[in-house]
Every structure is written in C-alpha cells, then in structure tokens.
C-alpha cells in the first residue's frame, strides 16, 4: 500500500471503472508517484514540497477521469442489460435480444401463455389473409397481366309501378350478332370469344354418363394463348362440325393417355364427335370441363340478348380497362318500349378477376376485420400479462435504473422483449395458420378458386412477419413506457409498497378495450346466427323432409323432333308408376326445374287485363304438389287427362293471383307469350314456393302440365316414409324401360335445401367460432387483470377484513371497481358494432344490423362473462387471512 492510494482512488472513483482494473491502474499510478517523489527528494526538494509537487501529477484529474472512462469502457459482452454507457446501436439490439430470450426462458409459463395467445391472433389473421391474398391480390394464373375482361350488355329499364318510378339494371349476354359486331373492334380487343356450358351425354360410357362440356367460339383458345398437346384446336370452319377438343385430365382418365385418340370418334346422344385435339394440362377450367365443342348458335341466340352465355376478351396491349369502356360507350342506345318508360342499352367491360371475386370481397373484409379484433384482444391480453409480470420485476428495473440505465434504454429493452415475444408468437402463428387454413377451407363463406388456392407463400409470410412486428410494438409500448418509469426509492427496497404500479387506470383501460372488441365480435356472430335461424324458419312453401329427388332422363337415340315428346312422356309414365309402387311411397310427381335450381321469366297475358304480366313458368307432372307437400289452395291438381289434345290447363300461385288482382281466378284464362298462342284455363291455385332461394320472395308462377307441353326432361320427386330405403330401390326401377335411362343422382331433397343455406351456415359458423374465440380470450384477459389487481391489493383487503368488512362488501368493492370499466367497454362495443355492422348488413337476413334482441343478448352475455371473470379472483382474495395479508407487504 502506498501513501498515494487514497488520493488516487478518490480521483478514479468517478470514472466508474471495473474494480479489478481500477486496482491495477491505481497501482501503476502509485508507482509513478513514488518514482516522482523519490526523484524530487533526491534532487534536494524538501519533503513537504515534494509531496505537493508529486500530487501535481494528478492535477488534471477531471480530464483523466474522462479519458479513462472512454478508454476503459468494458467490452459489451460482459455488460449487464441496462448499462447506461453508450454502445453501438446494433450491438445493443443483439444484446437486448439475448437478454430477452434469457428472461423469457426463465419464466416459461408466462412465455407459453403469451406465445399461445399471440399465435391464436396472428395465426387466425394469417390464415384469413392468405385467402384474401389468393382471391384479391394474386392475379389469375391464366391472366397474369390482368388483360382478360368480360364484355356484356347492360340494360337499364325504367318504368313505373304502383310504388312510383322503378329502374332495374340487367347484365345480359349480347346476341351473337352483337358479339360479331364487337368482336371486330381490334382497336380495343385482341380477341373476343363467346362460350356457354352445355351438357353432353356420353353413350360409350357404361352406364351412360352425362358430363359438362363447354361450347366455345373458335377464338376462345386464343384468349389464353394456348396450343394443343396433340392435334389442333378449333378454327372458323368448325362451327357446325361434330368435333371436340378434350382436356388433358379427360385424355388421361378416360382414354389412358392414348395418343391415337386424335381422329377417333366419341358417341354422344347428339351424334358422334371426332376428337381433333388435346389441351395442355394447365389450361384453365380443365378441372371442371372434359370436352370442348364448337358453339353453334341457333336462331334465338343470333338475334336475342340474354341467351345465357359469356363473352370474354383480351384487351389490346396499350388499352386500359377505362379506355376499353370509353371505346365501347358508342354502343349506348336508348329506346322506348311498350311496357317501359325507357330502355337504355350499353356495353359493359370488367376484368375477369374482378368478376370472379367481387361477390366475396365484402365477406373477406368482414372476416379480416373479425380476425383483427381477435388479434387486438390478444395484444391487450399480452400487454396486461407483461404489465403484471413487469411489476414483479420492479426491483430489477429500479436496480438497473440506479446503476444509471436511462428510461429510454430500459424502454428499449422492454420493447425488444415484446418484439421477441411477438416473433415467437408469429412463428407459432404461422404453424397454426397452416393448420387453420386446411381446417377452415371447407367452412369459408367465400368461393375459393380451385386453380389458385390460398397458400402460405412469401407474401403471406411477409405479411405475418409485419403483423408480428406491429403486434410486438402494439402490446409492448404501453408496458415499456409504464415499467421503465422506475421509482428508485420504493422499488429498491425488498418489497416496495407499490400499488401505484399498474394501477386501476391502466387495468381499467385494458378491460374497456377487451370488452369493446369482444362485444363487436359477438354482435357480428349473433347477427349471423340470427340470420341463419331466420332463414331456417322461413316458410319455403314445401315440406322437404321425406322427399327424394331422382334425377333420371331418357336417352333418346335416333331422336327426331316429332317423336321426342311422346317417347319422353312414355318413359316418365313408366318410371313414375314403378316408383309409386315401392313400399312407403305416398306420392310421386315430376318437374322440369326444382326449387333452387334456376328460374326463368317470361311474359304472359291474362284475359282480364291488357298489360302483360311477368311470370315464371314450370312444367310438372300430376302428383308433384303432393310429393313436395305444396298445399293446393283452390281448385285441383293436374290429372292424367290433362294431356295433349285436351284443353290447355294451368295452375298459378298465390302471388300471381294477388299481383294480378284476380278476385276469382278459377276458370280465368292465361297465355304464355313464348309458347303457342293457346289460352290455358286456370284450374288451381297453389301456395307460394320460394323457388329462387329461401331468402327471396316468391315470384308470380305458372305451372303447366308436362303431359301437354311435352317437356322432354324432368326430375322425379317422391314422398316416402323412409326416403333412404326408397332411394336404394329406385335405381333398380330404371332398368328395362322403353328407352335406356340416364340416372344421375338420387338424393334427399334436404341436400338441396342444405346446399342453398350452406353459405349462411358457413358465415354463421365461422363468425361464431371467431366470436367465441374473442370472448374466451377477453375473459382470460379480464381474469388475469383482476387476479393481478387483487393480488396487489391483498394488503388493502386484509385491512378491510381486519376492520370488520363483510366478505360480501369486500367482494362488492372489488367487482364493483371493475364494473365501470366493463360498462364503458359494453357501451363502446355497442357503438363500434353499430358502426361496423352497417357494412355487414348485406349478409343479414330477416334482422337489421341493430337488431335489439341480438345487441341486448350479446351485451348481457359479455357483461356476465366479464363480471364472472372478475368475481373468481375476487373470491380467492377473501380466503386470505388478514394477519397474513397485513404482513404481505
């Protein structure tokens, strides 16, 4: 020990050196001073002056301290987090990340709960986003530059009704003549093609099979810039030729990939068709369509709009969609018609991609909003977890702060921890999303394109990375700011009395947010459920239970127009007779188009009025109403006598009677404009049937007897006590008839009803799942917040109990202290739901977006769940022994 040590140490103290290093420096300096002193003394300087001059060596100690601090900065690897000394930014981050990982590993259950919560939020968001990506963002595989457009005829009809002026805009397929006129607009379109789906009955298959084919104009394949694998595609000369092009799938499946198929013929009901080419495997629509045939326009299609086909075109290279619309504006015409005030016709152009997805867009955004709510709730949960955990770390924070860690530095550390947590949640979320995507696809209430299925591609992964980062900042910022505000005096003590930490204000704010978000989700789910329920309780007009549908039709070989009707009539009579004889069958009938299949409109004249009415015609066989359970309100059903050569008869529905104000409908005469000029006598009135869908009001309907019209293709319906048993027997009844039978499917009519409500059921199911998840997360969050708050107030509770407060009263105080937050959350949630549900109004049926029972039920349920979540931890606090509680702090 040297005499200089005290002086040296006093000066070094401020440099904040590592103790070992300080000792070393101190020794070296002491030696220097020793040498200096010895030198001074030996040169004859008096002792006192020598000491004084020796200490002069240290006189610029401020600078020394400063220099030493700079030089002797301890290497970063051994610094504890919270070190104040400036470091390169990146080194600080990697240090923070390592520290965060260590600290997360140390509290495993916290990390597990937080990561799981985040994974739910991020996973759900990622899964839904991948659907949005596949449908809205990603271009169509067969149209990467978005130049494929649909071209159509627009028709706006303005007229007057009893309610005043009405306008209706229709979207029609233009006649082939118009198509030809538009097709030559090479200034706008590179190519334009028309196509329509058609059924083809294959005779080579055993049993006879009916498949979908696409009838196309020769330019169709040019739209997709495709060339055949084998053979050729259609050209202009093929229009009336019996030729076909087959898909790759069809080639492999039906013909075993045999290349000699090109040039061979396939027998169909409409005659033999020669295979001229095979399409490449990746050609669009290949998954649904096996055969392509030339579109041979008939007379009606040539001249009339609305023949049910579609027009696609490819825009010329330098033409935008907007320019194409402007270019087509010249086809706008206005004309007068006898029944309308005016009819304005024009040409519409829209991107095929847009056409495919526009029906789904609103639903996708609704789902995205719902999962965002869940993600936000998850964020709030994790924020509260962090706060609760953070206040347990107040001593750590205080110690680090007292060692000189600035608030910013501490906040940075906490934020890093949150982001690391969010990243872990993100990784788990992506795994969950992958699973969710597979699980949710069947119940997604949108039509996901099969050729472009949702996938966790780079864009989706990038999205979830971004969401994870944002999430980390979102839930980490509040705790970071809050916790970095350390109180040095109280928190360095072994147990600071720190009720101020994470006090009621922060806790209450989080409860408000959770309740509000969860309520919005619940209202959404509730409205969807109510809509679905309403839909199921709609009076469809028929009784679908016990009804089986037998899709069977005669294969009319060597068909001639003269005999078709007669042969078909005999075929159906035979099979209906056989099915009626099956055990338990109480009624059998037939119709051309079943409810939910399709609906056509036509004009009809009534004897009583001069203006034509709009009706939807259907061909049926006697027994149909009985089989479907449609009540006959007036008059009678058709009979076997209502056949050809007998006077024409018709049955109408109640809507028609009401609409036409027929006071006494029976015996009146009606005439369909499309058919002959024959007048038919109304012999019966039946109840309304919701033919278009359960959601849509019935139209005015006119039933005619298929025995009279000779409609060649019908669907048989049978009412049976045990439909399944009858279905099994029905197929055998189709053998040995006068004509070969093409049996497609035999299934209960309930299948159709379910299919028609499937979209609503999916919406309700998915939103209920999301709503339930949101409520569950919110309940867990509120439970956690209350538990924490109660734990912090153990002492207060102890005091209250010691002073004689009854358990009931204490319980009241605790639960009551959260009640304002819950009430505020409910109020805000209702407000938010009110604002948000306006956008989902279009998905609702039979309920308004502000349906009071739904709002009240959702609010009540959520408030109860929230109160229960605060009640449980409060109960636990009551079991605390006052003595223990008082000692607790």
């Amino acid at each position: 020990m040297s005499r200089w040590d005290a002086e040296i140490d006093r000066r070094l103290a401020e440099a904040g050196l590592d103790p070992v290093r300080q000792a070393e420096i101190s020794r070296e300096l002491a030696q220097h001073l020793d040498d200096r002193y010895a030198e001074l003394v030996s040169s004859g300087v008096a002792d006192e002056e020598a000491v004084w001059r020796t200490l002069d060596e240290l006189k610029e100690s401020d600078r020394m301290t400063h220099e030493l601090t700079r030089v002797e900065r301890v290497p970063t690897s051994s610094v504890v987090a919270g070190d104040t000394r400036r470091q390169p930014f990146l080194a600080g981050v990697s240090q923070d990340v390592r520290y965060a990982l260590r600290s997360l590993r140390a509290s495993r259950s916290f990390t597990a709960v937080a990561v799981l919560t985040l994974a739910l939020g991020i996973g759900a968001t990622t899964a839904i986003f991948s659907v949005v990506d596949a449908m809205l963002i990603r271009p169509l595989t067969y149209d990467p530059d978005g130049r494929l457009v649909r071209v159509f005829r627009t028709r706006t009809e303005r007229g007057t009704s009893q309610k005043g002026p009405v306008a209706e805009t229709l979207d029609l397929t233009p006649s082939i003549a118009t198509f030809k006129e538009w097709q030559v607009r090479r200034d706008i379109f590179d190519a334009m093609a028309a196509f329509k789906e058609r059924e083809v009955t294959l005779l080579d298959a055993s049993p006879v099979e009916r498949v979908w084919a696409m009838a196309v104009t020769p330019e169709f394949f040019r739209l997709f810039d495709t060339s055949p694998t084998l053979g050729r595609l259609f050209d202009e000369s093929d229009t009336d030729e019996p030729v076909t092009v087959i898909s790759d799938g069809c080639w492999q499946r039906r013909f075993g990939g045999d290349p000699s198929i090109v040039g061979r013929t396939i027998r169909t009901v409409d005659g033999a068709k020669t295979v001229v080419g095979i399409l490449p495997a990746r050609f669009p629509y290949s998954s649904e369509t096996d055969f392509w045939i030339p579109l041979a326009p008939n007379k009606t299609m040539m001249t009339r709009d609305g023949w049910g086909g579609t027009l696609y075109a490819r825009l010329s290279a330098d033409i935008t969609l907007e320019q194409a619309r402007e270019g087509m504006a010249s086809y706008r015409r206005e004309r007068r018609s006898e029944s309308m005030l005016s009819v304005v016709e024009g040409a519409g152009v829209e991107a095929v991609h847009e056409w495919n997805v526009k029906a789904s867009r609103q639903m996708l955004f609704t789902l995205l909003a719902a999962v965002s709510c869940i993600l936000l709730i998850a964020c709030v949960n994790v924020a509260s977890l962090l706060l609760a955990r953070g206040s347990g770390r107040s001593r750590e924070v205080a110690i680090r702060a007292s060692l000189g860690a600035g608030r910013l530095r501490l906040a940075q550390q906490f934020l890093t921890e949150s982001i690391v947590l969010a990243m872990l949640g993100g990784v788990a979320g992506v795994v969950l999303a992958w699973w969710l995507l597979n699980a949710l696809l069947p119940i997604l209430p949108v039509n996901v394109p099969s050729e472009n299925p949702p996938a966790l591609d780079l864009r989706v992964l990038g999205f979830s990375f971004l969401v994870s980062c944002l999430t980390g900042v979102l839930f980490g910022l509040l705790p970071a700011l809050r916790l970095s505000r350390a109180d040095l005096v109280t928190d360095t003590k072994p147990s600071g009395l720190s009720t101020t930490y994470f006090g009621w204000r922060t806790g209450s704010a989080l409860v408000v947010v959770e309740v509000a978000l969860a309520l919005m989700l619940m209202v959404g789910a509730g409205l969807m459920l109510r809509s679905f329920h309403r839909l199921l309780s709609v009076d469809s007009g028929f009784q679908s239970e016990h009804v089986i549908v037998i899709e069977v039709s005669p294969v009319l070989l060597d068909e001639t127009a003269a005999t078709t009707a007669g042969r078909s009539r005999i075929f159906y009579s035979q099979i209906i007779e056989r099915i009626a004889g099956l055990p338990g069958v109480s009624a059998v009938g037939a119709i051309d188009t079943l409810p939910f299949w399709s609906t056509s409109h036509t004009s009809a004249d009534l004897e009583t009025t001069s203006t034509p009415i709009n009706v939807s015609p259907r061909n049926i066989l006697p027994g149909y109403f009985a089989a479907m359970g449609v009540p006959i309100k007036l008059g009678r059903d058709f009979t076997q006598q209502d056949r050809e050569h007998a006077p024409c008869v018709a049955i109408v529905n109640e809507t028609l009677v009401r609409g036409a104000a027929l006071a006494d409908p029976l015996g009146r005469r009606i005439r369909l404009r499309t058919r002959s000029t024959e007048w038919c006598e109304i012999v019966g009135v039946v109840a309304d049937v919701r033919h278009r869908s359960l959601e849509r009001q019935p139209l005015a309907e006119l039933y005619v007897s298929a025995l009279q019209t000779g409609e060649p293709e019908l669907v048989i319906v049978a009412r049976a006590a045990q439909p399944v048993a009858v279905a099994a027997l029905a197929r055998a009844q189709t053998k040995g008839l006068t004509e070969p039978a093409l049996v497609q499917r035999i299934r209960p009519f309930d299948t159709f009803v379910a299919a028609s409500t499937a979209q609503r059921r999916r919406r309700a199911a998915l939103l209920t799942i999301l709503g339930g998840l949101g409520v569950l997360l919110a309940a867990v969050g509120i439970f956690g917040l209350t538990s924490y708050a109660v734990a912090r107030r153990t002492r207060e509770i102890g005091v209250r109990v010691a002073l004689g407060a009854t358990p009931r009263r204490v319980l009241g105080v605790i639960v009551g202290s959260f009640a304002p937050a819950i009430a505020t959350g409910v109020a805000l949630g209702l407000l938010g739901a009110w604002a948000a549900t306006r956008t989902i109004a279009q998905f609702l049926f039979g309920v308004t977006p502000t349906d009071p029972p739904t709002l009240i039920a959702a609010a009540g349920l959520l408030a109860s769940v929230a109160l229960l979540a605060t009640y449980a931890p409060a109960r636990r606090a009551l079991r605390v022994d006052p003595v223990v509680a008082l000692r607790a702090e």
């Binding site: 420096i25 070296e28 300096l29 030696q31 220097h32 001073l33 040498d35 200096r36 002069d56 060596e57 240290l58 006189k59 610029e60 100690s61 600078r63 020394m64 220099e67 030493l68 700079r70 030089v71 002797e72």
Partner: protein, 114 residues
C-alpha cells in the same frame, strides 16, 4: 476541409507518436516514458501522470502497445510497455505523416530560412 481534419488528427497524434517512438527500441515503464519525453525535449514537452496514463491505456487498447507487469531483480514490480507489430506499422505511418505535416508547416510559415 480534408486538410484541416488531417491537421487536427496529426496534432492529436503527436503525443501518440512520441510514446510509440520511445518504446520502439525496447520496452519501458510509464514513468520512464514520461521522463524521456521531458528530457529529450529539453523540458518543452511534459506529460503529467493524469495525461500520460490514459494515453498509454488507449494505445494499449488499440493494440499498438502491450503492457506487462515485470519484476526485475532488486526492483519493484513495474508495468512495462512494448511495441506490438500493429504499433510498429502505426509508428511508421505516423512518422511519415508527421514528417510531411512539419514540412508543410515549415514551407508555409517560411521557417525554412537556412
């Protein structure tokens, strides 16, 4: 601008140059270095301990010097500093830099009268 920066660096580096030069031939301890600077400059240059040691530590930190505690017979343990390979390279650089700096000053200030 660039010249001014280099000038400042050179001035600051002059102390480093002195120290590096002194340990070039053999290792020396701190007091010895301080004494040598003072004596060889005829008392014009003098570093107090407060200024000298932080400088030594900095050079050591940069890897130009290496300090070791050495006990010699009949002497107390002292910390000796010797030049490292990197230090040798730096010394050469600083010498040439300093030389041209001094030459420039001389030329500009008209000190080259002889």
């Amino acid at each position: 601008m660039a010249t001014r920066v280099r000038e400042r660096e050179l001035k600051k580096g002059s102390a480093e140059l002195l120290i590096l030069s002194l340990v070039e031939a053999r290792q020396r301890h701190g007091y010895e270095i301080g004494k040598l600077i003072e004596s060889r400059s005829d008392g014009t240059l003098r570093f107090s301990a407060a200024a000298l040691y932080p400088l030594l530590y900095r050079l050591e930190k940069r890897g130009w010097l290496e300090g070791r505690w050495i006990e010699r017979a009949g002497q107390r343990r002292r910390r000796y500093y010797r030049l490292t390979a990197a230090g040798r390279k730096m010394l050469a650089e600083q010498r040439s830099g300093w030389r041209s700096f001094v030459a420039a000053i001389n030329r500009v200030a008209g000190l080259e009268t002889s």
